[in-house]
Symmetry: C2
């Protein structure tokens, strides 16, 4: 049985203001919720799932002591934001890993400067996980990485990529011993640049690119050159550009 | 004034069956419609736009002789599929460039084997344009590349990337003198493979990968290696994988 109160609470978490108020968010679907059980069980507040699902994960559920409530398909449909609701939905506590900017030194990390599209944000986290990016630091005005569309697009990478939100000034970039790469339109050819396995890669907003509060810190401006046959396209999608840059760093 | 009939007709084109029936589709927004006017004016059936827009493009509109109907913001909102309707909307005739599979020889092309997500399809076309991909051949069951979400995600690349829909058997791959690359999970390391500037790159469906009717033709299986730190992510998004592969071909 799903109470009206729970229904309303879960629905409210599709909005950022309620996610922030309660410090909770929603994770949905068999694959994501079962992954959640393995990776960060302590963050789970409660799982709502079909009886077939709770039977399947009975052992794991008991082991973690997570609170589970069985609901039927009609109830799941009411609270799901997926086109095709998929067996389980979890209310999860938001988390933020401990972070100090000196931790950026020695590894490869991303700074997302105002990424707005949830699909882009989720895809960037998924890609960052694949390429072993240490930190993804988001500007405070980037899209909330706990929003439903972001969470789904990460395909589970949300559990493993260390993601924090920080203003540029809080990074004290001047004091860090770290090359700052930035994807801009007229930078050095990415494929001909010497790339270290250490640095902060700045990715700009989808429309405006990298803003003036961080641009002066970029000491390695890089560009992804278009092939000579390029016809009408003026730029690459932000998640695509991020992926090509990460791949080129790791592939050299 | 927008007639009820036009309103219904335009709305119907959000569905594939009506796009196929009438061989038309919709392009929206100031930037896309103005680009359309420059790139493929002969395909335009009619433009519906705010008076401020038609004033701005008065010269171009007269030169091309395109039929334009002025509407107000309220009417535009009725027919737009954008969250924020943007000045203009065009009914456009679908097109398919002349294609014979021997044209794949000598260049770099993509075969999309059942790509389902419209955002992925649009982003792949945008990326293909950037990297000068000659042809994008889609399996007939791939998402319709004239669907509104695909069109928007291409950011204009739809006008310049030669896109056709063909069954695998119609490509007569055996007869072609062409390396066939395929993105699979356990292929050769993309970054360590010798890549020619010629070939067909096969990209599989988001969930299932490359299907068995084309897999036997893949004579160069390639993989994008995950960094050793990879934690939970099992794969890359299809559009991301495509972009990394195209970039690596062009960047070598």
């Amino acid at each position: 049985m799903l109470s009206k109160k729970n229904e309303q609470y879960i629905r409210s978490l599709s909005l950022k203001k309620f996610r922030q108020k309660y410090n909770n968010f929603i994770i949905e679907g068999d694959k994501m919720v079962s992954e959640l059980l393995v990776q960060v069980p302590n963050q789970i507040e409660r799982i709502f799932a079909l009886p077939s699902w709770t039977n399947q994960y009975d052992q794991k559920l008991k082991k973690t002591g997570v609170s589970v409530q069985e609901i039927n398909e009609r109830e799941l449909k009411k609270i799901s934001s997926l086109k095709t609701p998929n067996q389980a939905l979890a209310i999860v506590q938001q988390w933020e890993p401990d972070f100090q900017s000196t931790q950026l030194e020695g590894g490869l990390s991303l700074y997302l400067d105002g990424i707005q599209n949830p699909g882009n944000m989720g895809t960037i986290l998924r890609t960052a996980d694949w390429f072993g990016i240490d930190w993804v630091v988001c500007s405070p005005d980037s899209v909330d990485h706990f929003s439903p569309k972001v969470v789904q697009a990460t395909m589970g990478a949300l559990f493993s990529v260390k993601t924090v939100r920080r203003k540029v000034e809080d990074l004290t970039l001047k004091k860090l011993n770290l090359p700052i790469y930035g994807a801009i339109l007229k930078g050095e050819n990415l494929f001909r640049t010497t790339l270290k396995q250490e640095g902060l890669i700045v990715i700009g907003n989808e429309g405006q690119g990298i803003r003036s509060d961080i641009l002066p810190f970029v000491d390695h401006p890089i560009s992804i050159p278009a092939h000579h046959k390029v016809r009408g396209t003026e730029s690459l999608n932000a998640a695509i550009a991020t992926a090509i840059i990460c791949a080129t760093f790791r592939g050299k």
